[in-house]
Symmetry: C2
Subunit: 569 residues, 2 copies
């Protein structure tokens, strides 16, 4: 019989506890949770605030009573573990209800303390009562109470990560005027900029004001005014601070466990922590979830991925390991999805921005395809971007923005990545097809097709952010859309020859056959067909504008000015 203590009773901790009990009926398992609630639906909190989930009870996936009974656990809520003594294998616990402080010994200790919202010492923050963060049920109750008071007509959400964007949507759906402020030039970091622009459009179109490349300088008037670095002042009845999370590492630091550069607990592949002093593995303390550093599946470099899937997965694996099972740990891809109004945003692996940062070479494939047969009602476009290693052809990452069926394509690609597939393998995925669900060539297959043509040297790609300069420098850009489409908008300096008359008019192209020729259309497909014709007529140095004018135009989207008459510069 082992005595196992767990710190943190939600995604990682509760999952570990359940699995530990399943693997051993005898072990003594004590779960400590600082707050009242264990095993709640963190991810559902924004939707409860937005009245999408109307029953608060539903947020409690398990209760202390229910879970103790079912899994024969000793669950102690309101109980904060305040210190670990690795040498004596004990922890100190403070009961926040009774004030009692006691120690508890362990054979094995699992830390799943999670991550907490960043709340930097912004001037004016301390004085304000209306600036809230969202992590748990008490936070939710607070925000909900403010919102339900009927006093909130204007809200400012600071931070355009998943939680910020979800909060902006949910507050907006309640009829509140919402402004979303983000320091970077885009929301949702897992997306590359031009993909995020689709989200900016969607958020604007749903009446949420977005301010990018601006941060909070200070709060004034008890938090009712948010003063940005630009000097702009936003009126706010409610402010949600959602600028990211930091690992809950107080315990780890106190116990002198090894932490990474951003404070995440460092572990072995078996989730064992390191004694910080001498960097030795501590075989009796484990850490999982948002608090830990993980290995990026793609680049094999350390990273942190505060998402529920890894926490749940690690919870099960650590329990297995403690019970003597061999476990694998291949790293985390960071597959993620969010609903943003009518859009679905999904991504897996690394994006181009991240690969650039890491100086990892990649080739881009972009496609815009219908989610299902175009002739079946309500087909919608999915913008897909995939990155692969030009050497190994392994998939490095993918992003998608669309509606129904969007995250399906990312899940398929994420699966392919986990199994080490190359971009060419995508062609052969036999995905289910009937008109309401897909096309006989699924968008995922098309990504593989496009990649094959690039690899066959049929054409090279040029990205939306490169083309203007190229044209300015005298590059020849051929737009093969119809004259009507061109009239509705196009790239400056492009020469228009419609695809279907290209064969007859090919002599009009005034450049040498081996000079670079850049071809564009609406999404890249007709440009490709044109490229095949050009190739057949002797052109040898051809580029396709990835994503066509559609991607180009989106990338140049200008934020709508929705200031609700509530902001002043």
């Amino acid at each position: 019989m082992k005595k196992i203590l767990i710190v943190g009773g939600v995604a990682g901790g509760a999952t570990a506890a359940a699995r530990l009990r399943r693997l051993s009926e005898e072990d003594q398992i004590i779960l400590f949770e600082r707050d009242e609630y264990i095993s709640f639906a963190n991810c559902g909190l924004p939707y409860y605030i937005g009245d999408v989930i109307t029953d608060r009870q539903k947020l409690l996936v398990q209760t202390v009573g229910g879970m103790s009974k079912r899994f024969n656990l000793d669950i102690r809520n309101f109980s904060e573990v305040t210190a670990i003594d690795p040498d004596h294998k004990t922890v100190t616990v403070k009961n926040h209800q009774t004030g009692a402080v006691y120690t508890e010994s362990y054979d094995k200790l699992i830390l799943s303390p999670g991550a907490k919202p960043i709340a930097p010492p912004i001037p004016g923050l301390a004085e304000a009562k209306n600036i809230l963060t969202l992590r748990n049920i008490p936070d939710t109750d607070k925000i909900k109470a403010v919102v339900d008071s009927g006093q909130v007509s204007r809200a400012v959400v600071i931070g355009g990560g998943f939680i910020g964007v979800e909060m902006a949507e949910n507050l907006q759906e309640l009829g509140i005027n919402v402004t979303l402020v983000e320091k970077m030039n885009q929301v949702l970091k897992p997306l590359d900029f031009e993909m995020a622009q689709l989200v900016h459009q969607e958020i604007n179109a749903n009446g949420v004001n977005i301010i990018l490349e601006d941060g909070v300088d200070h709060f004034q008037n008890q938090g009712h005014e948010v003063v940005l670095e630009s000097g702009q002042v936003l009126q706010a009845d409610l402010v949600i601070l959602a600028i990211g999370v930091v690992p809950e590492n107080a315990l780890a630091k106190q116990a002198n466990l090894k932490v990474g550069p951003r404070g995440h607990i460092v572990t072995t592949a078996n989730y064992e922590v390191f004694n910080g002093e001498n960097d030795t593995v501590n075989p009796d303390i484990f850490a999982i979830g948002d608090a830990v550093e993980v290995v990026d599946f793609v680049t094999k470099t350390p990273t942190a991925i505060p998402l529920a899937w890894p926490a749940n997965r690690q919870g099960r694996l650590v329990a297995d390991y403690i019970n003597g099972k061999k476990i694998g740990n291949v790293g985390i891809q960071g597959t993620a999805v969010a609903k943003v109004f009518n859009q679905t945003i999904a991504a897996t692996g690394n994006n181009a921005a991240l690969l650039d940062l890491k100086k990892i070479p990649y080739q881009v494939v972009v496609a815009h395809r219908s989610n299902h047969a175009g002739y079946y009602p309500n087909a919608t476009n999915i913008a897909l971007k995939l990155l692969y290693d030009p050497q190994t052809l392994k998939i490095l990452g993918a992003q998608a923005v669309g509606q129904e069926g969007t995250e399906k394509r990312i899940d398929v690609i994420a699966t392919a990545m986990k199994l080490g597939a190359t971009v060419l393998d995508l062609q052969d995925f036999e995905l289910s097809y009937a008109p309401p669900f897909s096309s006989a060539k699924d968008p995922v297959n098309i990504l593989g097709y496009i990649a094959e043509n690039i690899l066959d040297g049929v054409y090279k790609t040029v990205q939306w952010h490169e083309i203007d300069q190229i044209v300015a420098d005298g590059g020849f850009l051929l737009d093969v859309r119809s004259p009507m489409e061109v009239r509705a908008g196009g790239i400056k300096g492009a020469v228009n020859i419609e695809l279907d008359s290209l064969r007859e008019r090919i002599s009009e192209i005034p450049i040498a056959k081996d000079a670079p020729i850049y071809v564009s259309c609406q999404v890249g497909q007709r440009a490709y067909l044109a490229i095949r014709i050009l190739k057949g007529h002797g052109f040898t140095n051809i580029y396709n504008l990835a994503g066509g004018f559609s991607t180009y135009k989106t990338a140049h989207y200008q934020l709508a000015a929705l200031n609700f008459g509530t902001t002043a510069k």
Copy 2:
């Protein structure tokens, strides 16, 4: 320059033509299509009849004019290829508009003639005008004209395959009383019986009458009465005959090409046909699509899969091969999906029935899981069944019935299968999670978890069709649901001890620790938790009823009697 002829201008043929042109600007490419239309949406036809697709024009993905122009093709519609002369490398063509007959030579010939509805010589069929089949636009126009005449209040659909079921739905949605007749004991063969029962329920619930295990004996009264083998007589203003398809092999037979046992054209992995006489490869004639025999990806045995994905895929591959590219051909899984009223039915690979037939051993994993977080509105159940090889652990097939997100799980599994994944790999698929889309442990992950427990020897499974006999023979069946659930229905002979009191009441179990004990609950999960407890208390020979009472009950579903007062025995 090569001269390439293509027979058949729809899924396989049109795709091949487009890719052939892309790969070579010079080749002469002639596409023969017997009918008026090329490149139409076969798969959309039922939805046009059902007024879901309202614009007939939308069914024409490409037109003769549009496609000829874009791809510089010589497209000849109304032109039937009536004979091949492999020795002289010519075909005979009959123009159905002018009556002209001529020969055309080829360097390469691609056959993509498809498959046609089976129409056996049932007595009374020839005399009837209201018995129609559905394959192409003229068929559609005919059915649509009958339906639009307003004379159809009762329709009989014969055959419960994908097309039959889709037609039943679409006619029903038009307000017609529909009876679906199927000779087997279930519709939709890719599903195992108990999964198909979910579909029977759904079809019944939507007011369609189903008659199983009965076939048409003859038609009488000009087709207005369908007399079944049982003697039952169905009144019908319209009859749709959808009992399956046979390959269009007249040409192949005429040219003495090799065909398989069910008449499909046999090809090499490069889609080359065989000269029937001496079984030699004919390097200049290729066949693809519904007309050909393919290799079952899972079992590597010959089969036929008349679906659009393979036809499209093969169309591209054959064009590649003809242009000197190396191609791969790993066989076809038969991934399929259909919408049946509010349900989505999806499957890939082999089902248990097929594996039984082929005497291939398999282990079953069944799960019922929410499509997304239960606390987020409109979560619906997905019934999942997966089969894997107990030796290699490779996935052999999977089926799913549910609503939103159903085919996503099958697509993920189909991808895994193509990449040679084992059932344990499913655990590590990092699938996207947010409450509207999934759970932190995706249903696909759960399949992997269940499999691991089975492989770890924690329990064995017993199937719904085995348990009654086992109990009748004195087996001990423990139902761990709540007494309230048990009162609402359960399996005869089961002993009820609720999961949450099992630890206290374990001594009530009257059998030896090494005697077989069968455990059930609603879907299998609580039974599993009970099994872990039983194991912890020394029981060693434990079975879980796969899919629980839910699967058991569905499997025993009795068809509703919806005879619209129109049938008589």
